[in-house]
């Protein structure tokens, strides 16, 4: 084996070891979650083993029933699907307008929008609550949904505007000459070219809405409208936490979002690659 081959293999080996270590670090909490979900409460504290001695699959049934996941699951699917759809739809239109149209106060508006990213959610609880009250939307699905949508817009517009800015103007000009309308250009040219960015936004916003809990708890009162994260609350007491059921519940709550991630994975990799090539 010559020196260069050896060097190449060594590099590859070191890279694989380093990446393997990172992967283990990322996967271990997931492994611990699944392993704990199959243990009993006293075993979690008394025996720190990686695998349970007895596999308590019944924890999953108990968690599902006790946390009332059936109802919460549908709610979460609804908030996530509708919320993400409107975030992408509104933000792509707005981002395209910011990137391509000229109108007074465009820059100020854009920076104002970006500035809202700096405000933490707990900081807007009270004004949001008052606003929703005046609109008669407290304890309604629509109220919560509007909050989720408005919450996701600023970052989505920021990201998509960057993509639209970099699209070649020549393609759009050619389409205009061919008689395509502004909306047609947005719909037939800009959106398809921004697919990788949209895929990234879909996964990010799906994760955010699926895992969101604070806003739902503040805005909603009716248990029937609560998202899946509310179900996990029943396992966490003031002083004690039922870890096996909590972990089983977390595993159940994680599965849908993992599926979404796997479905969008290809586009996300493309999105990242496109972002890297742009620079």
């Amino acid at each position: 084996m010559n020196f260069f081959k050896f060097q190449k293999r060594l590099k590859s080996g070191v890279t694989h070891i380093a990446l393997g270590a990172v992967a283990i670090t990322c996967l271990f909490p997931v492994f611990w979650m699944i392993s704990s979900s199959l243990k009993t409460q006293d075993l979690i504290f008394s025996k720190m083993t990686l695998l349970p001695e007895v596999w308590n699959w019944s924890n999953y049934v108990t968690a599902f029933v006790k946390a009332d996941f059936g109802a919460y699951f549908l709610n979460s699917v609804f908030y996530t699907v509708v919320g993400v759809f409107f975030i992408i739809f509104i933000s792509s239109l707005a981002a395209y307008a910011f990137a391509r149209l000229e109108f007074p106060g465009k820059n100020i508006l854009f920076y104002l929008l970006i500035a809202t990213l700096l405000i933490p959610i707990p900081g807007v609880f009270v004004p949001l609550y008052l606003l929703l009250k005046s609109l008669g939307l407290i304890d309604t699905r629509l109220g919560l949904l509007l909050c989720y949508i408005s919450n996701g817009l600023a970052f989505a517009i920021f990201l998509l505007k960057g993509f639209f800015d970099d699209l070649p103007r020549e393609v759009e000009e050619a389409a205009l000459i061919d008689g395509c309308s502004r909306f047609g250009i947005y719909w037939r040219i800009a959106v398809p070219l921004a697919k990788p960015a949209i895929a990234t936004l879909v996964i990010m916003n799906s994760l955010t809405i699926w895992n969101e809990f604070l806003l739902a708890l503040v805005i909603l009162q009716d248990k029937a409208k609560m998202p899946i994260q509310r179900g996990l609350m029943v396992f966490q007491g003031t002083f004690i936490t039922d870890y096996p059921l909590l972990m089983a519940g977390l595993t159940i709550a994680t599965i849908p979002i993992v599926i979404v991630y796997l479905m969008m994975q290809k586009h996300i990799v493309k999105g990242i690659a496109a972002g890297a090539l742009k620079g």
């Binding site: 409460q41 006293d42 504290f45 008394s46 609804f78 699907v81 509708v82 759809f85 409107f86 739809f89 707990p122 609880f125 009270v126 949001l128 609550y129 008052l130 009250k133 609109l135 008669g136 939307l137 407290i138 304890d139 309604t140 699905r141 629509l142 949904l145 719909w187 037939r188 809990f213 604070l214 708890l217 503040v218 009162q221 009716d222 248990k223 609350m233 029943v234 966490q236 007491g237 003031t238 002083f239 004690i240 039922d242």
Partner: protein
Amino acid sequence: MLKLKTFVSVSICLAFFVCSFSGCGKNKNEQPKADVVIWHWMTDRQDAFEKLAATYLEETGVRVLFETYAPTDVYKSKISAAATANLLPDVFNPISDKKEVASYINAGYIADLSEDMEKDGWKDIFFAKALTQNTFEPGNEWNVKPGIYAVPLDVNSLMIYYNKDLFTQAGLDPENPPKTWSEFIEAGKKLRAANIQPFVSGFGEGWLIGAFAQSYQWNLFGKEGVLETIEGKIPYTDKRWIKIFKLFEEMKNAKLFASGVVTMVNKDAERSFATGKAAMAFNGSWGVNVYLSMNPTLNYSVMAPPSLPEAQFPMLMFGGEGSSLFINEKSPNKQKAIDFLKWLTQGPQQTFLAQATLNIPSNKTVADDLSPVLKIFSENIANTFESLPKIESWQVNNFININLQSVIIGERTPEEAAKEVQGEKERQQKAAK
């Protein structure tokens, strides 16, 4: 063109989905969901509350709805947002210190229950300590009308748990735990000699180390002395305060502390005691619940922090009111809410709650129905610190806690630690002026 059509179709479907599933706001003619709505944060008590609400519905026809919002910081946000929007439920708790509770009272959100408490001797069923936290005395600094403003549900206190099996293993009598400081240190040495970690607590959480030290402050200074220290008349460099710092140094020198105690959070300390890795633990009465969940076979009891031989005052403990509920002054169901809470705090209901949730009920008449350990806690409620008209600033308390930790790790001598605290006290006094 096909794609655009698909998009429009999906949009219409989604819009329909949104409208049909969410509705457009609330129906103004909607019936109230219950006669009394209670917002609370005690997730582990929800089942017990719901059972009691069902019994109450059967007995009186009044429907009570318990709604849980946890964790407490989210609950607090919800309460403050609802208060601003004038949408508070019939019963709630702002989970705040006295100053903030006073602001709710002055804003007209919390009802004065003094008159109702006097009726049928309702007030007399409670531990006196359970009421003091939410009682405002005449001339209070927040200008609140004197009165009782909350209904206590349970009480708690902090004591030292000890593992009977580990005591036996170290040759100690588990039925006669140490009562004096020297016995306590000796017991610790015997445990260490038997290769057992003697003492654990979440001293990484400042308030726990502070609570342990405060017991000795009351033991050495008494109520007047504690007050005079707060007023600045007794300095923290007083020899009795140096003695308090020296107690921690003595524990350190006798190797009583479990490793890492200074940075340990209480959850880890609880696990250490529950799994038999430490023989004694300074913890609250909620520990009964925690230890049961972590290790149902744990064989333990509790004892008061051991008194000092030179102390002229009784040994008192940190504790008092646990969870309380406040009634919305503006609620149209105010009387129904009061009636329900009156019912909830009576003997049978309190016994049920205590047995279902392993908390010490605020009703002192049900002590005999409690488990042996909870009964000891319950009997010790009378020995908790008295409520004071003034409190030490949080900055000084913080300095006390930090310096106690410094003494444990040997960073400062007791004298240096006392000097540091006095320095902060003087800074705060200057700032207040």
